[in-house]
């Protein structure tokens, strides 16, 4: 009997820990002491994400002109000479077709944030050598793609300061999840 009571107490304490650990609650939850603090170098090696504020964008800059050669060398095989031919994802064009029977989703017609371009190209492209491009190369390819999509002029410079300010045409095209959206009995 007393054993059962003890078990209940432990469970209650466990529940309390979970509650106190919730977002925004300042109380200190149970800690086990596992893991160790990472070094700055360890964090730096993995901290590659770029969010819409541009936080984390590295020094360096790129131009449309530089991007022309890099795109031709590293990207055109999969995405086509002008970014429209494929065979892989179409990157350019498709403006104004999202609400039609045959929508075309490209960087220009669909992507809401320009910073995602830096993040994704750096982390995952080219497919056969991800994370091989230098910051200058990534900035330049981003510049070329934005220019091909008529979003920036031919003489624009893309860097940590300018990239987050680029306004993407479909920035307002996203809505939150309204499901369940299909009526049921």
């Amino acid at each position: 009997m007393s054993r059962c009571k003890a078990a209940v107490l432990v469970l209650s304490a466990g529940g309390l820990v979970v509650l106190l650990g919730g977002v925004g609650i300042a109380e200190e939850p149970l800690r086990y002491g596992f893991g160790r603090p990472p070094t700055d170098a360890e964090i730096g090696a993995l901290n590659i994400d770029i969010d819409p504020t541009g936080a984390g964008l590295p020094p360096g800059r790129g131009t449309v002109q530089q991007g022309t050669a890099i795109y031709a060398n590293k990207c055109a095989t999969c995405h086509g000479p002008t970014g429209t031919e494929g065979p892989k994802d179409r990157l350019v064009g498709g403006h104004g077709l999202l609400a039609t029977e045959h929508p075309v989703k490209t960087i220009g017609s669909f992507w809401p944030y320009a910073t995602t371009l830096y993040d994704y190209i750096h982390r995952a492209m080219p497919l056969n050598a991800p994370q091989s491009l230098t910051p200058e190369e990534v900035y330049s390819v981003v510049a070329w793609l934005l220019h091909q999509n008529d979003i920036i002029p031919a003489d624009a410079v893309i860097d940590a300061k300018t990239l987050p300010t680029v306004k993407m045409p479909n920035r307002a095209g996203f809505v939150s999840d309204p499901r369940p959206d299909v009526p049921f009995r």
């Binding site: 925004g24 609650i25 086990y32 990472p38 994400d49 929508p103 995952a124 369940p180």
Partner: protein, 420 residues
């Protein structure tokens, strides 16, 4: 495929070569000689297999010795259907609710990485009190949890938006599987680092060559997310994220980041490519729904299903039902294209965010029939017809297709994929 240990059992220390069991071929030769020619002639046709003309009566031949790691019977052939980027589970030949680990569907965005678990680390940083890095051993020391859960790619059945496309249930519904997952609650590990009050989203990142990333709303995932290191009782399969994956009960498979290496807490979504350009649902008005995480209730008849052929008489209709919102409450079956419905039997245990096996006894009279199943979950939500789903979302949203599946049985008993 036979593993080497099957063909050449490694003798244990106690087994010297002289003590090896008599070979099956030798044994049968001796046995047949002892029986005499006429007796051997009589039993030979039934005793001898086509492949190995000597010894197929298992009661007369010593069997194989134990093996260090098992494999299925060599006559079993169920397999995943593979493409360059994914593979599909063959639900038409599976039973119960657990998908064998070797047949669990795959979806990866630049191949399956090879990761040394001793070198693998999980980094937690961003809006935490104490950034921490954990080894696999660290993570396995925490209190653990085991849950049996489905994982469904939000692209499962996606080709059916454009009309009946898949020939088999493997084609139409193969991007989902169920496993028993074991790991540590995300809450436990994040509490170790200390969540700062302003943290609202968490970025999860994999260490594959896509460095797959998704942003997840922190309050939601703290409820039940698991950092899993085991699947069906053993370490994760490489294609399922070995040595560590995130499992979010009931959410689209892409959010269950595999080969998990990093969790970064922030105030807002990070807007990665996989939550903007991809995994968003385009509507007829040109807007796209974003962060559509939950997989809504869905069911499918796995047999009889496309590509199979049935005989008149008793046929057990079998299938799977599941809901990302919780428990499956009911499954109904129609054999007349949705005009009339009858309740199916649910096989227990019925678990939340898990496949539920259903069965329905049917006698096929040889006439044309259209077989359907529809489920309802504990929220009252009922799986929609294709017409209702398309009316709400059009046909260009790519993801989250959960309409009722129809299989037509023609007078020859042949089953095909149709939409009604």
């Amino acid at each position: 495929m036979n593993s080497p240990d099957q063909e050449k059992p490694i003798p244990s220390n106690r087994e010297t070569p002289e003590e090896e069991p008599v070979g099956r071929r030798t044994w049968l030769t001796r046995a047949v000689s002892a029986m005499g020619l006429s007796a051997a002639g009589l039993i030979a046709p039934s005793l001898l297999s086509a492949a190995e003309q000597n010894h197929s009566d298992p009661t007369r031949v010593p069997g194989r010795t134990p093996s260090p790691y098992g494999s299925r019977a060599s006559t079993e052939t169920a397999q995943r259907l593979t493409t360059a980027t994914h593979s599909l589970t063959p639900h038409q030949v599976l039973h119960g609710i657990i998908t064998p680990s070797a047949l669990h569907f795959e979806r990866h965005h630049n191949g399956v990485p090879m990761i040394d678990p001793d070198q693998h680390r999980l980094l937690i940083h961003g809006l935490v009190e104490r950034p921490l890095t954990f080894s696999m051993n660290d993570l396995m020391r925490f209190p653990s949890v085991t849950r049996t859960l489905f994982i469904e790619c939000s692209g499962n059945s996606g080709k059916e938006w454009n009309g009946p496309t898949g020939k088999t249930v493997q084609d139409t519904h193969g991007l989902m599987s169920t496993s028993e997952w074991t790991g540590v609650p995300l809450m436990t590990v994040l509490a170790e680092a200390g969540i700062k009050p302003e943290a609202a989203w968490v970025l999860a990142e994999g260490s594959d060559s896509a460095a797959m990333t998704r942003s997840l709303p922190l309050a939601e995932v703290l409820k039940d997310a698991l950092l899993c290191y085991a699947q069906n009782g053993e370490a994760l399969r490489p294609e399922q994220g070995y040595p560590l994956r995130l499992v979010l009960p009931g959410w689209e498979g892409n959010t269950c980041i595999k080969w998990l290496r990093r969790l970064k807490l922030g105030t807002a979504p990070f807007m990665t490519r996989e939550e903007t350009s991809r995994y968003t649902d385009l509507m007829p008005d040109g807007t796209a729904r974003q962060f559509t995480f939950v997989m809504e209730a869905k069911s499918v008849i796995t047999g009889p299903s496309g590509g199979q052929r049935i005989e008149p008489g008793f046929t057990e209709i079998r299938g799977l039902a599941w809901s990302g919102r919780g428990l499956v409450k009911t499954v109904e079956v129609s054999t007349d294209g949705g005009r009339t419905w009858q309740p199916a039997h649910l096989q227990g245990p019925v678990l939340p965010q898990c496949h539920t096996r259903f069965r329905f006894s049917w006698s096929w009279n040889g006439e044309e029939a259209i077989l359907q199943s529809r489920c309802a979950d504990e929220t009252g939500y009922v799986q929609p017809t294709r017409a209702a789903l398309v009316a709400a979302r059009g046909v260009n949203s790519s993801y989250h297709y959960n309409a009722i599946q129809s299989w037509k049985v023609d007078r020859q008993g042949q089953v095909t994929n149709v939409q009604v």
